[in-house]
């Protein structure tokens, strides 16, 4: 705990390599997550997201490399390292013989919470995750979405400094998804660190401050979300729709200093720019100069999805 409070670095993953038999699931994965970040961990199915998380929690033994949670290796000292961690697994399996309240109480005991603390938190958390009416019902009777919600409540029973969520909103309805996104954002505002593994790019773009991308066991990007779009933007493109496209107009546009190339398809032009600048004003002026009638003009900016797809292809 002392280390956790003293250090800004909450997660340190260094050169992590993990084999399943001959299959290399993680290949020298390294990244760091600082206090207060909402870190989105992106990757396609089988990329190594869950393996990374389970290794971070000491559930898997790395073949190489090391993990530190607030300066403590969870494999060597799980009691200290995991005291400050809340974890919600992907598609959680919870003990069906407990009621929601009983399971939260048991988990609270595992963190050494007092009876009074547990009582107060259980009531508040069941309300927070929308299971107030279901607290005294056996988990075996819960729907998948309800189990998912209870799993989030379990993850925050200890008021964790670090919250690790593996695909947290899978199985939730849109309303619950929005509710939990707000919850994660609010936790981050309270100074907590949130690590979210997801393949939902929209979700990551909305709530994360930093992004790590993994593909085939290797990190292909790691940095602030503000940099990710820029990092994967090879060029900016303006798309114009005109009443009529002429050859003279295309030649004139191609001759402009800041234009890389112009491609025509019917009455549409795709103008690739040399610079990452919004040059729609300059382009429209040039079109008007050649008597062009402009129907629409859009700057095509790269989305996180584009960046993600480019990252997976290895293009940066």
């Amino acid at each position: 705990m002392v280390n956790a409070l003293a250090s800004q670095q909450v997660i340190m993953v260094s050169n992590l390599t993990k084999y399943y038999g001959n299959f290399k699931a993680l290949d020298s994965v390294s990244f760091a997550v600082d206090k207060g970040w909402v870190y989105g961990y992106l990757g396609p199915n089988g990329a190594g997201k869950t393996t990374t998380i389970r290794t971070m929690l000491g559930l898997l033994k790395p073949d190489q490399g090391e993990v530190q949670i607030a300066g403590v290796n969870p494999e060597k000292d799980p009691v200290q390292a995991l005291q400050i961690v809340g974890y919600a697994p992907e598609l959680p399996a919870l003990q069906p013989f407990f009621t929601g309240e009983q399971l939260l109480d048991f988990m609270g005991k595992m963190f050494g919470l007092s009876t009074q603390d547990r009582k107060e938190r259980i009531k508040r958390l069941l309300d927070l995750v929308g299971l107030k009416e279901w607290g005294d019902k056996k988990i075996g009777k819960y729907s998948k979405g309800m189990v998912q919600r209870l799993s989030v409540a379990i993850a925050i029973i200890n008021d964790p400094m670090l919250l690790i969520m593996d695909e947290p909103t899978i199985g939730m309805d849109p309303e619950a998804t929005a509710h939990f996104r707000n919850l994660f954002t609010n936790l981050s505002k309270e100074g907590k660190t949130v690590f979210i593994s997801s393949h939902l790019l929209d979700e990551v773009q909305r709530i994360c401050t930093h992004v790590g991308m993994i593909n085939k066991g290797r990190i292909v990007f790691d940095g602030p979300i503000t940099q990710v779009l820029d990092a994967f933007t090879q060029q900016w493109v303006i798309e114009a729709e005109l009443k009529e496209v002429t050859k003279i107009m295309i030649s004139a546009l191609k001759e402009l200093d800041y234009v890389q190339d112009v491609k025509a398809e019917g009455n549409k032009l795709r103008i690739e720019l040399k610079e990452k600048k919004d040059l729609r004003g300059e382009i429209s002026s040039e079109i008007f100069k050649h008597k062009g009638v402009l129907l629409s003009l859009n700057l095509h900016q790269i989305t996180l999805e584009d960046a993600y797809l480019r990252a997976l292809k290895g293009g940066q």
Binding site: L60, K61, V79, Y87, A93, Q95, P96
Partner: protein, 287 residues
Amino acid sequence: MGFLQRSANIVTYEWRRALAKKWLYALVILALALQVGLFVLFYYFFTNPPPGFTITGPSLEEVKAMMWLVGVLGPQSLFIPLIAIMIAGGSMSEEYEHGTADILLSKPITKIEYMTGKFLGGLSLLGFVIALTTTLGATLAYGFFGPQESIQFVPIIYLVLLYSNMLFFSMTFMFSEVLRRTTLSILAAIGILVGSVFIGSILSTMYVISGGEQLYLEISKWLPNWSVSNLPSFVASELITAPENPFVSVPGGDIQLAAAIIAVYTVASILIAALKFVRSDVTKRTG
């Protein structure tokens, strides 16, 4: 919060997990019902003996006064080892099969604390079941046949029964971790239980046929079932020295050897389970 408290949390968890199983209740009720049935049968037999039936040695009254031994040791023959196997069979493996191991082991607890809690949780539950059958056995003896002799030894016999059953409990616990499949673990343990009874019978026959070749007897002693089924009787023979004791006539029973064999199997099983658990990954849902 220290080692003991973290392990104790898992002990209570293990009780809840095991008590959620309907088959456990069924098995315990069946064991208790058979105990009652046995006493009803004996009672009928003693009050309506077949014509010409006589007991050699002790008188019928002396036999009746020792009937608590039948009640206490009777379930040991099959039901208690079976209940031990059933309790331990899913102890570790069910958490992998259901995917709940992740939730438990991502909390601040060491693997050794977790395993200790699991082991002691199951063992204490087994201890409770044995206490039930022991108490019922002694009570039935008193109820059907009146005041019992040497009944002050019941607590010692209870502890010996618990100790004896640690063998199959630990062995199944080990299978549960090593195989990580509940059904396989239970089948493996039952296979060893039945197999050792079967091989033991063959070795006994060989002993008789060979005219007393000691080697067969010595080998049979190292089969798991020999010590488990004989140690309580050996101890009872040692405690109850009255010559009229008709139920534990195992003179010359080697208590030290039986106890040592149980200890060897138990310690080896626990060590194998611990090494496997500590050294390997926590596998995801396997069920």
